[in-house]
Every structure is written in C-alpha cells, then in structure tokens.
Symmetry: C2
Subunit: 338 residues, 2 copies
C-alpha cells in the first residue's frame, strides 16, 4: 500500500475569518521526487497574517492561492528523498512548504534553504527566520530609529512586534512603547522583553495614552495592524516621523468595510513619511541580519517566544489566532501533532 | 484727518466654506512705522488653500489665526514709510502681509523679502514665489521622478499642479497625467502646458482612466487634493512609487466628515512611500530653485497663469474659488481693485 500524505487545500475563498468551509483536508499518496527534485517531510509551519491575504482573490505581492491548491505557507521540513545535488536526505530545510505532510522542493521555483545544524526549528521560523528579518529590516531600514527616538510598535506581543521593540532598545531608542491586547501581553512585553511601556488597546484610550507616554510625539511607528490604531498614531507624530507599514491585521478579514485613515493630513504638517515594505525584497541581506540576531539572542538581549499549535489539521485555527489576538509570540504548527 | 486703511479680520471660525460671517472688513488709521519698522502698501495678495487651514482652531504647522486678527496671507507690497535700514521707500517686498491695505514689517518676526526690480508682482507670487517653489521641491525632492517615470498630479490646473507637470516634463518624465475639473482645464493643461493627458474628475471614472493611461502604474503622484482621488491613486501605484503629499483641498472645509483612505495597504504590496512636506522647510534653498525657474520661464518651457481677483473686499470669495475649482492658475487679489 502506498504511503499516504495529508494536505490542506483552499476549498472556498473566505469572507472574514477562515471557517470550516474555507479549507479541506485531503489525503494523497506521498509524492516521489522527479529529476532534480527532493521531497521534504514537513515538521513545522510558519503561521503568518499574510497567508490570509493570499486567500483573497485580490492583487498582491504574490498571486492568490488557487482554489483546490495547497495553502501556501512557510515551513521547516526534513528531506526524506532526493534526486537533487542540493538536498541530502536528513537535511533540515526552510521554504514555502505549504500546509501538508510532504512537500516537493527543487532548485528552481520551489526552492528551499538548508538550515545549519544546531538551530532550533521553531526559532528558525521565528527570530532567525522571516519574522525576525521583518522586524530587523522594517525597523532599521524603513523606520530608521535614531538614538533617543520614541518608537511605538503595534501588535507588540506578536512574532514581529515583540522583536521590533527589543531591537529598538538595542539601538538605543529613548523610549519604546508597545500596543498589545490584554493585561497579560502588556505585562509580558514590559517585564520580559524590556519595553518601556505598554498600551492595552482593548481597555485603554490609545490616543490619551500616547499623549501621556509620548509627549513629544512618535518618531518611529512600526505598524502591524493598520486601521484605527494607525489612524490614532498618525495624529501623534513628531516632526519628520517615519511609519514603517508592515501589515494591517485589523483589515485582512474585512478589507471592504474597514474604516479609512482620516489623519493622513498630519503627514504634511509633521513632514512625515509612511512607507511600506516586504521582506521578500531583503532576501539577499538576510545573512547580515542573521549574524546580528544570533549574537543578540546568544547574549540574552533578545527573547523570543513561539506559540506552538499541535497537528496539521489545526492550521486554519492557528491562522485565526493571529486575528483574535490569541497568541503571544510566533504561531507555529507542529505538523505531526502531539 | 488721518488716512484710513482697510483690513479683513477673522470674525468667526468657519465650518465649511468661508461665508459672510467668517470675516469682517474694518477701517483703521494707516499705521506709522516704529523704530526698525517699515510700512508697506499691500498691492497683491497670494490666495492659497493653506489660509483656510489657519482659520480652524486646530494644531498645524503655524498657529491658528486668532479671532479679530487680520487674516494671515502672503502678499506683495510697496514700502511707503520706513525706519528700517533694510527697507527703502519704493522697494517692492514679499512677506506675510495679510489681508489689509497697509502692513507693518520689520527685520524680525514680521520680515519681508525685497523683490528685485523687473519681476512682475503676480509672477513673484506664483511661479517665482512660494507656489512655484512648492511645485519644485515637492516634485524633485519628495517625488524624485526619474527619466521615463509616469507622473500624475492632481489639482493640475491650479497654481502648484500646473507647474509640477511642466517641471516633470522638463525632467524627462515618460508620461505626465493631470487630474483637473472640467473640460476647459483639461484642455488647457494638455494644449498649453504640454501634459501628455488629462483626467476630468468631474466626468471621468478616475480609476478607469488611470488604468488606461498608466498601465504600468504611477511612479510619482503629486497630491494636492487628498480624499477620494488620493485613495484611487493609491490603488494604481507602480512598485516603489512615491506620493508627495502637498495638500488636501478636498478635506480642508470638512475635515471631520471626509472619507478616509482605504487603500493604504497598497503601500505595502507596492513597497511605496507617502510623504508630506512643507515649503517652509526649503526657504534656504529657494535661490537654487529660482535660478532654474527664471531660466525655464525665459526659455518658454514653463507657462504660468494668474487668476486676478479685483479688490481687497473680494479676498474671502477668492479663497473659496480654490475649493470650488473656479480658478485656473494662481489666485491673486489685486488689493486696490479695478
């Protein structure tokens, strides 16, 4: 009997959160590698907000996931069969492996990167992976904090935001304020990660707290959420402020009805800049950032957290966690389950 | 009998357009210059959208105009009395002279700049003045057009927009598209100013026309209007596009109810930038720009137009013209009237 492999495909485009009808779990034979290909057993999936945007039939930086196609997702796997000179059986690889047990990788479009031995798989997906790189380049290359600056980050207990605040402190920001949901997350970012202050958007008046905590305005705002919080931050900018637009979690599930930005006029009065970026553009600069990041983690200057969800079948629920704020740190699915 | 001087003061903060109750015409004695001061007879007023923003009791880059104070406004005048070594009787000066017949200027806060003989007063207020400088630095310093770029400008038949498009052509933009209101303005910017194409926002579907005219997206958008047109342009950006935020005419009279921007997410997918600027920050760089501008006008490469409204008492109506789109080119009030 042929060995079977599970996979989750997009059954229907969601309107709002992913639900039971959005995806379908299928079983197919384990693929065989063709010439120049390898097959990886997927171990961990990187659950990122951007996956939700790929489920919409809307133009983006990557094409939408097609109906009946496996849900696109970063992941870590172990090479179990190979006809490729690049991949040896036993290698740990990172790539767009998708929500499935087995992924075919090659040296072309479906390439994957071999991870050096000794790097914990979940850390490779979070702080040393795309998430950490997003924090690093978004903050340093787009936000450009100067020593003494007031830096504000939203989604501050999330995978990216939690690292942004810590890098800002390493780079001598004068004050780092995180915006997060709920007292536990707020306590975590201040007590464990060293943020100077936290704003609980679920219970605080964000504008009033920003006035109090950032009396001279925000120099750098790293935005993970878009929507109302971005609009409030726009009205608290310091002169020549930089907004690094990383994501808009608040709008991913309901783009049409999300309220628009009203305070964009302050970009003029504050001579400020709002700039979007995608980590895809920085792939060739990952090594320099990874060297910094390895050092900071080894020195205990950056704490990272992963929120591990067990089982491939839980991937859709894991994705929803990002939008309900049910996670602290990076959401990862352990494909094999408990 | 003392000679009398007219002035227009802010009587009440407007909600929406300026109306009969917003301002009050007063008559006061002609001021005498104190030590170090001079008195200028105001000849022409520069009517700019920003004056409307100063009438609101809202934080801005300059303090609001106080109730019962003369309406703040740039202007050109002739020195008629002087106790200052800087100003001689007969000098033509530019400064914040205000909506009045006579202005007191000094060498400190209420300074004014002496205009060289031979420069036409209305041109000094438009193409060689703040308006032209705004077009120059906003386009070149913030928008940074590269040869071959697609440049779009809104308010394209206005004082600033009309110059922006012409400078873009001089700098070898591949295509310059102006957005203006009505067939006459659209015809003027194409036939007289050399824009490649015009979109009439009053009768065209702006989004559909942008798709048609800018199939590869907008590289530089110079925004004078904000609101719905800015939002539409956001969804037509090329990769690494730059939006130079100069003004938001659509919102000045009704900031609270203006619809917000919904398409800001495309700043991320297009890795684009939206940046505000104020011409006040470029005062020390005016000479370099004025040299370019004098040359271009002399060579016939830049055409400028002034829309002259007669009589100080018409200043409030002249301001409203900017928001109803009743002008083509720079709006100037000839204080003496016809």
């Amino acid at each position: 009997m042929t060995e079977q492999s599970r996979r989750i495909v997009l059954a229907r485009r969601p309107s709002g959160m992913v639900d039971a009808e959005t995806t379908r779990l299928e079983t197919v034979p384990v693929p065989e590698p063709g010439p120049g290909e390898a097959v990886a057993r997927v171990r961990y999936l990187s659950i990122d907000p951007t996956i939700r945007t790929w489920m919409d039939d809307a133009p983006g930086y990557l094409p939408p996931i097609e109906i009946d196609a496996v849900v696109r997702s970063g992941g870590i796997g172990e090479v179990v069969a190979s006809n490729s000179e690049r991949y040896a059986v036993g290698d740990t690889v990172f790539g767009m492996l998708g929500w499935q047990d087995h992924a075919v990788i090659d040296e072309g479009e479906n390439t994957a990167q071999v991870i050096p031995p000794g790097v914990e798989a979940t850390a490779a997906l979070s702080v040393f992976g795309v998430t950490g790189m997003t924090a690093y380049f978004g903050l340093l290359d787009v936000g450009k904090p100067q020593p003494g600056d007031t830096v504000v980050v939203s989604g501050a207990a999330g995978a990216t935001g939690s690292v942004v605040g810590q890098i800002a402190k390493i780079k001598e920001a004068g004050k780092v304020v995180g915006i997060a949901g709920g007292p536990e997350k707020c306590k975590w970012i201040v007590d464990e990660l060293g943020f100077d202050a936290a704003i609980d958007y679920k219970s605080d008046d964000v504008g009033a707290r920003l006035s109090e905590l950032c009396p001279d305005g925000i120099d750098v705002y790293f935005d993970n959420v878009g929507g109302a919080i971005l609009d409030t931050c726009l009205s608290h900018l310091a002169l020549r402020a930089r907004i690094a637009c990383c994501g808009a979690i608040s709008a991913y599930n309901d783009r049409g009805d999300a309220p628009g930005l009203k305070n964009y006029f302050s970009l003029i009065t504050r001579r400020a800049r709002m700039e979007g970026f995608l980590i895809l553009d920085y792939l060739d600069r990952f090594p320099e950032a990874q060297i910094d990041m390895f050092g900071w983690v080894a020195e205990g200057r950056i704490t990272h957290a992963e929120h591990v969800v067990e089982g491939l079948e839980s991937a859709p629920d894991a994705l929803n966690l990002l939008f309900t704020g049910g996670n602290t740190g990076k959401v990862v699915v352990a494909v094999d389950g408990a």
